[in-house]
């Protein structure tokens, strides 16, 4: 099957599955992922090797657009209102997931260095899945503002926690005490580099954007700059997500008419997300589900407990509403590419344990990705963020 036919089929069936999902009150993203699993190499084998090969580029495109739309929540105004809560909650839910997962796994006699890495991976969440649900149901309100902020910052904390844990684990396992500093340095460079690229390009995007009057030019300009940012981030091994988020955050604070950059993307981005999630579903390794094992189950449960306790504590300190305390952690359950990326690094660093880590995370990702969006929807529903 040629690629263009494959894309056509994905779009048409994606639309159909989304409609069916709507009937059974399920988020569209779940339908797209399931469709991907059905089309993927483990079932129908419908999606060809050719397509999976380009899925790397498609996922970078989709993730950069998603991160860009998350970034718009970092306006000075929103930050003054919810900044304190976002800070406390995001730090504590990340640390909470890390710590509780670590302790839980130690309790089940998992070696300390492995438990440390699992804990670090547990901190990650999947901004893409979360924002898709928010977008689909047009959810609005303070809860959504806080959730978006937490999901965004989450990524930066996750990176720091992961590189620290990886350094410590290496020191414990391979006895290389020197690597701690350089590991942390690596994380700091990744985050700072992303900020720098996003910041500089954000200034350029918004300054020159002032001169573009018609919609076509604006669209080309916005996409062009987002891709430059993403391309540079990839080239220097910075974070695509952080770079694009920060790009948007700078634009939103510099330009009074910044909504026009986001509005224009809203017209065109959904088909890209659809393709992205169907391909993501196709690359989920569902055959690993049977290998999920005790470690996988413990990891899943304790991560949720950690997220919940951390969020609760953070919300308590920042004096958030009861809604936030109770339900925000439900919105943080999806896990996908970021966690898989971390697991891949662990696999490269630790030949044996790394394999177990990767397999387990790849398997739990299947479950988190499919169930996660339901919980996001539930959280948004319970907190009355979905208006019809």
């Amino acid at each position: 099957m040629n690629i263009i036919l494959g894309v056509g089929i994905i779009l048409v069936f994606g639309l159909l599955s989304g409609k069916l999902a709507e009937k059974v009150k399920t988020p569209a993203i779940t339908a797209y992922l399931l469709l991907g699993i059905v089309f993927g190499p483990f079932m129908l084998g419908f999606i060809s090797e050719d397509m999976l090969k380009v899925s790397g580029t498609i996922s970078n495109i989709a993730l950069s657009l998603i991160a860009f739309s998350i970034g718009q929540n970092f306006s000075g105004k929103i930050f003054r209102q919810v900044g304190k809560q976002v800070m406390w909650i995001s730090i504590l839910e990340a640390v909470g997931a890390w710590l509780i997962t670590l302790i839980g796994l130690l309790f089940f006699k998992v070696p300390a260095y492995m438990a440390l890495i699992f804990g670090a991976i547990a901190a990650a969440s999947a901004p893409a899945a979360i924002i898709m649900v928010v977008r689909e149901y047009k959810a609005r309100g303070q809860f959504v503002d806080i959730l978006m902020g937490v999901v965004a910052l989450d990524d930066a904390w996750g990176l720091i926690i992961f590189s620290l844990s990886l350094a410590v684990a290496k020191a414990m396992y391979l006895d290389l005490s020197s690597s701690l500093g350089s590991m942390l340095m690596g994380a700091v460079i990744e985050i700072a580099g992303s900020f720098l690229v996003g910041g500089v390009l954000g200034i350029i995007l918004s300054r020159i954007g002032l001169f573009l009057k018609n919609q076509t030019d604006l669209l080309i300009w916005t996409i062009g700059v987002i891709f430059v940012a993403t391309g540079i981030a990839l080239h220097f091994h910075f974070s695509v997500l952080l770079t694009s988020m920060f790009l948007a955050a700078v634009v939103v604070n510099l330009n009074n008419e910044s909504f026009k950059f986001f509005d224009i993307l809203n017209h065109i981005d959904w088909p890209i997300y659809l393709i992205f999630f169907v391909l993501a579903g196709a690359s989920l390794e569902i055959d690993l589900l049977s290998k999920i094992g005790v470690i996988g189950i413990v990891y899943m449960i304790f991560r949720i407990v950690g997220k919940f306790l951390g969020t609760y504590l953070g919300a308590h300190i920042a004096k958030s509403d009861d809604d936030v305390k109770k339900y925000l952690s439900l919105g943080l359950l999806p896990q996908a590419g970021v966690a898989l990326g971390m697991a891949l690094i662990a696999k490269e660093q630790f030949p044996q344990a790394g394999n177990i880590i990767f397999t387990t995370v790849a398997a739990t990702t299947v479950i988190y990705e499919i169930i996660g969006p339901f919980f996001v929807k539930l959280a948004l529903h319970k907190t009355n963020q979905i208006h019809n």
Binding site: I4, G8, N214, V225, I226, L234, H235
Partner: protein
């Protein structure tokens, strides 16, 4: 350079060059092609390999969109008014260009079968260039409608002419007696198959279209169906252009609110066209220009003369306005992918002269592609299809 940096480079340079072109009153498409030539592998080499490799895919995406938007001009209402003119002009313009080139090439001393092949290729035009300019300058009116129709149908005549000439050339050169009917058969299969494909998919599309209400679904449904059609066309070796045109023509005639599908596409398609034309420029082998020679020069001039004369006669026969008589010929100047595709077939069929034909067509395409759009714009301008306040403004998306 990774693929994303490459795409962003193309988008941003394209945007900039389009702005500059606007200042000097040149169509944006010419600017995109020139940028493509500059950053392509034959000059600066800025475009990463991975993107050049994906050119074929991107051009199918873009051409399917372009063909779809051309197809919307085939509504019954419009056809009743201008159908007769479109048919006469398109047939005679194709015939004129073909015969002129065949005769000229024989005068130049080329073998008859080589002259026939040049003549067949001369009938082809490039719908993409035309639709870009119509969009950019928001050209509207009877002249524009007829031109769109001619350029669309043209493709079918070109295919028939090409396969007939190819068959004769094979007979003359290799003495294959039976191949005439076979080759004709394959042309009819290609045209007939494209019609059936576009018609069936378009009909199904229209039946379900009333369930699609919001903008988001509309976009997915439209884009998905276009790609589905184009993909099937490629799979069965049919014409992507004809398949997608017929798809649109069917929708326009079967579904009452079909304008929604064309409008939603206009919000997204321009960046794809931009990338497509920059890549088209990057793939032009400009080093061939020096080899264009006397034959290439004759081909360029004589083809245009044939198009103009054919159009003139067609316009007289079908009682078209004097604008059509005078200016529609030069508006059919652009030549691109369709001609190159034909030349490629020739190259693989005739070892002796094929390479020379291909090189000549590839070289003349460069000139037609770059100069053609300017003539299209002049034609639209002279025929008063560009309203005064929009002349200096590039496209505005429909909200």
């Amino acid at each position: 350079m990774n693929a994303l940096l490459g795409i962003s480079l193309i988008l941003l340079l394209g945007l900039l060059s389009g702005k500059i072109a606007e200042k000097i009153k040149t169509p944006a498409i010419t600017a995109y092609l020139i940028i493509g030539i500059l950053i392509g592998p034959f000059s600066l080499g800025f475009v990463p390999e991975s993107i050049i490799a994906a050119s074929g895919l991107i051009s199918n995406f873009a051409l399917s969109f372009i063909a779809f938007s051309i197809g919307q001009s085939f509504s019954k209402g419009i056809f009743h008014q201008i159908g007769k003119q479109v048919i006469w002009i398109s047939i005679l313009a194709a015939f004129g260009a073909g015969t002129f080139v065949v005769v000229a090439m024989m005068v130049m001393g080329l073998p008859v079968y080589v002259a026939l092949l040049f003549g067949a290729i001369a009938t082809a035009t490039a719908p993409a260039a035309l639709i870009m300019i119509v969009r950019q300058y928001k050209a509207k009116g009877r002249f524009t409608e007829i031109l769109m129709g001619v350029v669309a149908i043209d493709d079918a005549w070109g295919l028939i002419a090409f396969s007939v000439c190819l068959a004769f050339a094979r007979k003359i050169h290799f003495n294959h007696a039976d191949s005439v009917f076979q080759v004709m058969g394959s042309a009819f299969w290609e045209i007939g198959g494209s019609f059936v494909l576009g018609g069936v998919v378009g009909w199904i599309f229209s039946k379900f279209a009333s369930h699609i209400r919001n903008e988001r679904d509309l976009l997915i449904y439209t884009v998905g169906t276009i790609f589905f059609t184009a993909g099937l066309a490629i799979h069965f070796h049919l014409s992507v252009l004809l398949g997608c045109m017929i798809l649109a023509a069917t929708i326009v005639n079967v579904h009452k609110e079909s304008f929604r599908f064309f409008e939603v596409l206009q919000t997204v398609d321009w960046p794809i066209y931009l990338i497509f034309f920059v890549l088209a420029g990057a793939n032009l082998e400009i080093n061939l220009l020096v080899q264009i020679g006397a034959i290439g020069a004759v081909y360029i001039i004589v083809r245009i003369l044939g198009k103009c004369l054919g159009t003139y006669i067609g316009a007289i026969v079908s009682n078209a306005g004097s604008d059509v008589k005078r200016y529609m010929g030069i508006a059919q100047m652009p030549q691109a992918g369709v001609a190159l595709g034909m030349a490629l077939i020739v190259k693989s069929t005739f070892p002796e002269w094929g390479a020379m034909i291909f090189t000549t067509i590839a070289a003349t395409t460069i000139i037609y592609e770059i100069i053609g759009p300017i003539f299209v714009k002049i034609a639209l301008h002279k025929a008063n299809q560009i309203s005064a306040d929009l002349k200096h403004q590039s496209t505005e998306l429909a909200h």
